[in-house]
C-alpha cells in the first residue's frame, strides 16, 4: 500500500464543494465534495448510477453543474466546455480513447497546435522530438511517425497520456483505463501512473476493481446515490469497506465478498446434466478461431477464458450465429446446424449478450420495454399488431424481477447505466425463453453491485435448467464456471474443471499468453 508520507503535507490540488446536477428532473448529484492533494492518486468508486460519470463530466467541463464549486490549486474555476478544463490543466482519458487512428503518433500528440516553421510549414522535426520526449515521460519509446492505429491498445493509451502531459496536465482523470488492457500492460500502466504522481501530477482514478484501487491509489472517495458515501485512506481501510460503502449494506456471503477475500470461487452452475446440448467439432473462422471442439451439457455453465483477443469473443459470436464459421461443425440436440445469421440461432433458443453493449446490444433511442421485447415481438402481438398493454405489463415484471433501475419502462435505453442496460439485454432473452445464453464479457463496464446481480441472474437461469456459456477475460469470472476452456491465439489450449482450479486461479493464468 502506498501511503506516501510526503503527500500528507502536500497542498490541495483539486477541490469540489457541494456539486449539484440534475438531468430531466432526476437529481444525479446531490452535493458531492472531494479534496485531492497534489501528486496523489485518488480513486473514485461507486455503483452504476451513483454519479461517478456525471462527476467526471463536470470536472472535465463536459457538463455544467447546477450548483457547487470547483477549485484547482485554490482558484475557483468555471468550466463551460472541455477546452476550458484542459486550458486549466485538467485532462480526461476516457475508456474509449479519443485519438485519430489514421494520424501519426506525433500528430496526435500535437493535435490542434502543430509546431510551424516560418509560420506556415509544419515543423516535423521539432514535433517528432517533442513527441518522443512526452512519450519517454510515460516510459514508452514508439516510432512517432507511424499511424496510431498500428499500435496496441496499451501503446495507444500511452500516446493519450503523453498527449495530456504535453499539454501540461496538472490533473489527470482516468476513466477505467484498464478495462481494455491485457494483464501485463496493466502493471506497466501502474508504474507509469505512480511515476507521474511522483512528478507532481494529480490523478483521479475511476475503477470498479478493488485490487487496482488497493495496489495503486492513496485514497478513495465512494459515491452512493449522488452523495459522498465514504472518504477513506487506502492504508487504513479494507476492500470490503469500500464495497460496503458502495452498496450501502454488508456484503457478507456474497460472491464479490468471496472474490475479494481470495476464497475459492463460488459456482454459478448447478452442475451439468447428462445430456449433451451442443457438440462442437473443429470449429473455426479463418485464423481467429481454429480447431475448437467441445461438448456442452445441458444445465452447465461453461467458461471460455483467455487474454483479450485470444479468440474467446469470436467463438462466442460463432456459437450465437453472429459470425460465420469457415470450417468445422456445430451439433445441437444431436442434429447438425448451420447458423447463417443470428436469427437461425435465436430460433433454436440461443441468445447472445454481446461484449460491446453500446454498439451491438440495444437500440439507444428506443424505450426499455421495446428493447426487452425486441426478440420476441410476435409473442406480444396478434396479426403483427403489438399489444402494448401486454408488452408494458411484461416489461414491468422484468424490470422488477431483474432489479433494473429505471424511472419508466419508456425511458430511452441509452440513458440507463451499463449494468441496467445489460439486464435489459438479458431480459430480452428471458422474454424469448432462450435455453442457451452466450454471455460475452457479461460484466465489463458494470460495477460491483450490478455485477453481483448479473451473477445472481445467471445462477437463477442455470438453476432453472438453462445452459450458459461465459466468454470472459476476467479470471475470477472464469473460475465461477462449472468448467473452463482456456484459449490462446484462437485455439483451446487447456480445460479445467471447477474443482481443479486453485483459489487464485494460477493454474488458469499459467495457460494464458
Amino acid at each position: 500500500m502506498s501511503l506516501d508520507t510526503d503527500r500528507q503535507g502536500a497542498p490541495e490540488e483539486l477541490r469540489l464543494d457541494g456539486i449539484l446536477k440534475a438531468y430531466l428532473g432526476v437529481q444525479a448529484l446531490k452535493g458531492v465534495s472531494l479534496s485531492v492533494k497534489r501528486g496523489s492518486i485518488h480513486a473514485l468508486a461507486g455503483q452504476n448510477g451513483a454519479g461517478k460519470s456525471t462527476l467526471v463530466k463536470i470536472i472535465s467541463g463536459a457538463e455544467i453543474p447546477d450548483g457547487g464549486e470547483i477549485y484547482l490549486g485554490g482558484e475557483l474555476q468555471k468550466f463551460r466546455e472541455p477546452s476550458d478544463a484542459q486550458k486549466a490543466g485538467i485532462h480526461t482519458i476516457y475508456q474509449e480513447l479519443s485519438l485519430v487512428p489514421s494520424l501519426s503518433v506525433a500528430e496526435n500528440i500535437f493535435l490542434g497546435e502543430l509546431p510551424r516553421k516560418g509560420g506556415t510549414v509544419v515543423d516535423w522535426q521539432t514535433m517528432a522530438a517533442e513527441a518522443r520526449k512526452a512519450l519517454a515521460r510515460v516510459g514508452f519509446d514508439l516510432d512517432v511517425r507511424r499511424a496510431v492505429s498500428t499500435f496496441s491498445v496499451a501503446e495507444q493509451q500511452a500516446v493519450e497520456l503523453a498527449k495530456a502531459l504535453h499539454k501540461d496536465a496538472r490533473v489527470l482523470l482516468l476513466d477505467e483505463p484498464t478495462s481494455t488492457l491485457p494483464l501485463p500492460d496493466v502493471a506497466r500502466l501502474f508504474t507509469v501512473l505512480r511515476s507521474l504522481a511522483e512528478q507532481g501530477v494529480t490523478l483521479l482514478y475511476i475503477s470498479h476493481r478493488m485490487d487496482e484501487l488497493y495496489s495503486l491509489c492513496d485514497s478513495v472517495t465512494v459515491l452512493r446515490d449522488g452523495r459522498n458515501a465514504a472518504n477513506l485512506s487506502i492504508a487504513d481501510s479494507k476492500p470490503t469497506d469500500v464495497v460496503t460503502a458502495m452498496v450501502g449494506k454488508s456484503l457478507e456471503g456474497s460472491i464479490a465478498d468471496a472474490a475479494l477475500r481470495g476464497e475459492r470461487s463460488p459456482r454459478l452452475g448447478a452442475g451439468r446434466g447428462d445430456k449433451v446440448l451442443m457438440s462442437v467439432s473443429d470449429l473455426g473462422e479463418d485464423e481467429r478461431v481454429s480447431d475448437v471442439s467441445f461438448d456442452l451439457y445441458e444445465g452447465e455453465v461453461l467458461g471460455i477464458s483467455g487474454l483479450i483477443g485470444s479468440g474467446q469473443s469470436e467463438l462466442a459470436g460463432l456459437l450465437a450465429g453472429a459470425r460465420r464459421k469457415t470450417h468445422g461443425r456445430i451439433r445441437l440436440d444431436d442434429k447438425d446446424v448451420v447458423f447463417h445469421n443470428p436469427r437461425d440461432a435465436i430460433r433454436r433458443g440461443i441468445g447472445l449478450l454481446p461484449q460491446d453493449r453500446k454498439a451491438h446490444g440495444f437500440i439507444p433511442d428506443m424505450g426499455v420495454a421495446g428493447n426487452i421485447t425486441l426478440a420476441s415481438m410476435p409473442m406480444f402481438s396478434r396479426l403483427s399488431v403489438i399489444n402494448r398493454r401486454r408488452e408494458n405489463k411484461f416489461a414491468l415484471e422484468m424490470v422488477a424481477r431483474l432489479g433494473m433501475k429505471v424511472s419508466s419502462i419508456h425511458q430511452p435505453m441509452k440513458t440507463l447505466s451499463g449494468g441496467t442496460q445489460q439486464k435489459g439485454i438479458l431480459a430480452r432473452w428471458l422474454a424469448r425463453s432462450a435455453r442457451l445464453l452466450i454471455c460475452d464479457e457479461p460484466t465489463r463496464g458494470v460495477d460491483v453491485g450490478a455485477k453481483e446481480d448479473m451473477y445472481e441472474l445467471i445462477r437463477d437461469f442455470a438453476r432453472a435448467g438453462g445452459t450458459v456459456i461465459i466468454s470472459s477475460s476476467e479470471i475470477t469470472e472464469a473460475m465461477m464456471c462449472d468448467r473452463v476452456l482456456v484459449m490462446a491465439r484462437g485455439k483451446v489450449v487447456a480445460e479445467f474443471d471447477h474443482d481443479s482450479i486453485d483459489p487464485h486461479g494460477h493454474a488458469l493464468v499459467s495457460q494464458f499468453a
Binding site: 456539486i19 430531466l24 463536470i58 455544467i64 453543474p65 447546477d66 450548483g67 470547483i70 474555476q77 468555471k78 468550466f79 446515490d225 452498496v247 450501502g248 449494506k249 456471503g253 456474497s254 460472491i255 468471496a258 476464497e263 475459492r264 463460488p266 459456482r267 453472429a322 443470428p342 436469427r343 435465436i346 430460433r347 447472445l352 454481446p354 454498439a359 451491438h360 446490444g361 440495444f362 437500440i363 439507444p364 433511442d365 428506443m366 421495446g370 425486441l374 426478440a375 415481438m377 410476435p378 402481438s381 403483427s384 399488431v385 403489438i386 402494448r388 424490470v399 422488477a400 432489479g403 433501475k405 429505471v406 424511472s407 419508466s408 419508456h410 430480452r428 446481480d453 445472481e456 445462477r459
Partner: protein, 357 residues
C-alpha cells in the same frame, strides 16, 4: 461457502421492487413525446396567421384547396420517404419513379385498358422499381444514396424511352375522377388518398411489429440483427413501399395534369426529404413519425403558397425555402430549442449565479 448462502443474499438494489412510474413522470414523458409534434403544429399555425395578415386571398377555400392539392402529392411521397429514412436509408429516386408512373398510366390508358387495371399495373411497376432499389442496398450493399441516385437516372431514362413522344394526354374520365377531380364526403380524392396513406403509415409505424423493427433497424442495425429481426427483408420492404407510394403520387399528378410525362416530378424527392427532416426525423435513422413528416410537407407548402400570393418570384422563393429548412431542422432535431434556451439562460440570469461553476 455453501450455495445456500447465495440464495439467501438479497439482490443488491435499493429501489423498491416494482418501480411503477409516478403520475408526474408519466406526464413528463408524455409531454416529451408530444412536444416535437405540437411544436410543428404551432409553427404551422404561426405560418397560417402570418399568411392571413399578408394576403387577403390566403384564408379562402379556393386557396386552401390549391395548397392541399399541391401538398397531397408530396405528402404521399414523404410518407414513403419517411420509412426509408427511418431505417437510416434515403431514396433519391422517388421523383423519377413518380414521373415513370405518369408515363406508364398514360400509356396503358391509351391502349384502352380500364382505369383500375391500368392503375394497378402502374403501381406494380413502381413498386418493382422500389424493390430494385432495396435489392441494390441490401444484397449488393451499395450505399442507399448512391444506389437510389443511380436509379433516379436509370428510371428517368427508362421513362423517356417508353414515352417516345413529348407528352401523352390522358382522357379517361374515370381515372381523372378517381385521382383528382372526384370527391367523397366533401373531401377531394387526392386529399382522401394522402390522409389514408398517412394514417395507415402512422398506425403501422406505431403499433405493428414491422414498424417497431424499422425503428430498431434505424436505431442500431447490428443490435437489430443480433436480436433476430429480419433486417434485410424489412429494408427491402421499405424501399418497395417508397416506390409504390411514389407511383401513387404519380397517379395523382397524372390525373391533375391530365397527362403523362417524364418531366414531371423533378426535384420532388428533395421536397419529400426536406419535409421528413423538417418533421423531426433523423437522417441517421431510428427517429421520427409519418404524421410529423406530413405536417412538414404542409409547413413548406404553406410558406411557398404565401410567397406566391404576395408575388415573390421563384428565385427568392428557393432561397427562403432553403433558409426555412435549415431553421426548422435546427429547431426540431438538432436540439436548437435546448441550445437557444441555454444560451439565453447563461446570458441573462434566471438563477444562473449558482448554476455556473
Amino acid at each position: 461457502m455453501s450455495q445456500n448462502t447465495f440464495t439467501a443474499a438479497p439482490p443488491l438494489t435499493e429501489l423498491p421492487p416494482t418501480p411503477t412510474p409516478t403520475n408526474r413522470a408519466r406526464l413528463a414523458s408524455a409531454t416529451k413525446r408530444l412536444l416535437p409534434k405540437s411544436y410543428l403544429i404551432l409553427v404551422l399555425v404561426a405560418i397560417i396567421i402570418i399568411g392571413y395578415y399578408v394576403s387577403e386571398d390566403f384564408l379562402t377555400i379556393r386557396n386552401a384547396e390549391n395548397v392541399i392539392a399541391a401538398a397531397s402529392i408530396v405528402a404521399v411521397l414523404a410518407v414513403g420517404q419517411f420509412f426509408v429514412i427511418l431505417t437510416g436509408g434515403i431514396d433519391l429516386s422517388v421523383g423519377s419513379t413518380m414521373a415513370m408512373s405518369t408515363v406508364i398510366i398514360a400509356l396503358t390508358l391509351q391502349t384502352g385498358m380500364n382505369a383500375g387495371a391500368s392503375a394497378a399495373f402502374t403501381l406494380a411497376c413502381c413498386a418493382f422499381a422500389g424493390l430494385i432499389n432495396g435489392a441494390l442496398v441490401v444484397w449488393l450493399r451499395i450505399p442507399p444514396f448512391i444506389a437510389t441516385l443511380a436509379m433516379m437516372s436509370a428510371i428517368k431514362g427508362f421513362s423517356y424511352i417508353i414515352q417516345s413522344t413529348s407528352l401523352i394526354q390522358i382522357f379517361d374520365k374515370n381515372f381523372i375522377t378517381a385521382f383528382s377531380s372526384g370527391s367523397a364526403l366533401f373531401v377531394q380524392n387526392p386529399v382522401l388518398i394522402f390522409v389514408i396513406v398517412a394514417v395507415v403509415a402512422a398506425l403501422v409505424a406505431k403499433f405493428t411489429t414491422f414498424g417497431r423493427s424499422l425503428y430498431a433497424i434505424g436505431g442500431n442495425p447490428e443490435a437489430a440483427r443480433l436480436s433476430g429481426l429480419p433486417v434485410a427483408r424489412n429494408v427491402l420492404i421499405t424501399y418497395t413501399v417508397s416506390g409504390l407510394l411514389a407511383g401513387l403520387a404519380g397517379l395523382i399528378a397524372a390525373a391533375q395534369l391530365q397527362q403523362g410525362s417524364s418531366l414531371i416530378g423533378v426535384g420532388y424527392e428533395l421536397d419529400a426529404i426536406a419535409a421528413v427532416v423538417v418533421g423531426g426525423a433523423s437522417l441517421m435513422g431510428g427517429r421520427g413519425d409519418p404524421i410529423s413528416a406530413v405536417i412538414g410537407v404542409f409547413v413548406l407548402a404553406t410558406i411557398i403558397n404565401i410567397m406566391n400570393l404576395v408575388g415573390i418570384s421563384s428565385e427568392p422563393q428557393l432561397l427562403i425555402k432553403g433558409a426555412v429548412i435549415i431553421i426548422a431542422v435546427f429547431l426540431s432535431s438538432a436540439g436548437g430549442v435546448q441550445r437557444i434556451t441555454n444560451f439565453f439562460g447563461s446570458r441573462f440570469g434566471r438563477g444562473t449565479a449558482s448554476a455556473r461553476v
